[in-house]
């Protein structure tokens, strides 16, 4: 009975102390089809039991910014509360005809392209609100794409901590070293969001960067 009262008392005091602490806004940025939503889904599923959004082979599946509030991530006995923000992939070109290759009907492809362009604008507008950004790149693609460089350059200009992920490390064509060479000034981690490979290292870096903004 006494123990119960003590527990209740401490819980009240500590929750009072920490209730004003804001959740860390963790953004997932990158080009289309790099695996941003796959990674966000894996994290959310592991820590909340629910996924964030749908994934597809057709580019621009995520066409609106998606959130997941109060995602408590635990890593090596430490816990941190995050607001996860999954964003539509950023690119400088959107052609509805590319969707036709995936057997999307013409009308749907046009609508998808329109939503995709609006989603990109939305992604860019959200950049200023992020505390920490994870730039998710496809490690089988050339990292010297100007969009990747522009995203990272803008995060640096805004003094937002950046972590670069070389996703799809499970694929034969993956070139994690190539991404490390392209972004030598930032931490680059090879992961596989699909298979949950190397996520421990990812969490370690996210915690380090999140502490800077706490």
């Amino acid at each position: 009975m006494v123990m119960e009262s003590f527990k209740g008392f401490f819980k009240k005091v500590f929750s009072g102390v920490f209730k004003n602490k804001k959740d860390v806004k963790l953004g997932f940025y990158g080009p289309p089809n790099a695996g941003k939503t796959s990674l966000a889904n894996r994290i959310c599923k592991d820590f909340t039991g629910e996924e964030m959004g749908s994934v597809s082979k057709v580019p621009h599946e995520t066409r609106h910014v998606q959130f997941k509030e109060k995602v408590e991530i635990s890593y090596k006995g430490k816990t941190m509360m995050f607001k996860m923000i999954d964003t539509p992939g950023i690119t400088t070109r959107v052609d509805y005809e590319e969707f036709l290759k995936y057997k999307v009907k013409k009308g749907d492809a046009k609508a998808r392209a329109k939503e995709a362009t609006q989603g990109i604008i939305e992604s860019i507008k959200w950049l200023d609100d992020m505390d920490v950004v994870v730039v998710v790149l496809d490690s089988t693609e050339n990292p010297y794409n100007q969009v990747n460089i522009t995203i990272v350059g803008n995060l640096v200009a805004r003094k937002i901590p950046v972590l670069v992920l070389a996703n799809k490390s499970d694929l034969k064509k993956a070139d994690i070293k190539g991404i490390q060479e392209a972004f030598p000034e930032y931490p680059v981690i090879g992961i596989s969001a699909k298979y949950g490979k190397n996520l421990d290292e990812f969490y370690e870096h996210v915690f380090k960067l999140a502490k800077r903004v706490k």
Binding site: T92, R93, D95, T117, T150, G153, N154, V156
Partner: protein
């Protein structure tokens, strides 16, 4: 029976121009004016070779404005852009020199920016030492 000879498929390359823009031409323009100038030329099928590079926030704004124009300008499906800077892998001392030179001149004049409409430029392959431009047939 004589097999009908298949005539080679006609492929035409849309007319386009390659235009060099020295930094002096955009130096005194505001960010909005620079982006407007770039997009106006791109809408007319010009591939631009610009001396220097845009600021990071201008590069992002160019992406935003490009997206806003898709669907509003006939046959416009976006741009391909690449920037090459000869000083990517600089030593710390070179970085200081480069920062000073950039501050004094107001731009990274050693860099070159290439921008083109995707109706003309199929792909730009880029690595730290070269840019390869692939055109649409």
């Amino acid at each position: 029976m004589v097999a009908k000879k298949k005539s080679p498929q006609k492929k035409t390359l849309n007319g386009f121009a390659i235009q060099f823009i020295p930094y002096t031409e955009i130096k005194n323009l505001s960010s909005s004016e620079r982006i407007k100038k770039i997009l106006d030329l791109v809408f007319h099928n010009s591939i631009l070779i610009i001396q220097g590079r845009l600021r990071p926030e201008e590069e992002l704004r160019l992406t935003e404005d490009t997206m806003a124009m898709i669907g509003h300008v006939k046959n416009f499906k976006g741009i391909e852009i690449a920037i090459i800077s000869p000083h990517e892998n600089r030593s710390p001392m070179e970085k200081i020199k480069h920062t000073l030179a950039t501050k004094l001149s107001g731009a990274d004049l050693g860099a070159i920016t290439i921008v083109g409409p995707v109706s003309v430029v199929k792909e730009i392959k880029q690595d730290p030492k070269k840019i390869e431009l692939f055109l649409n047939k």
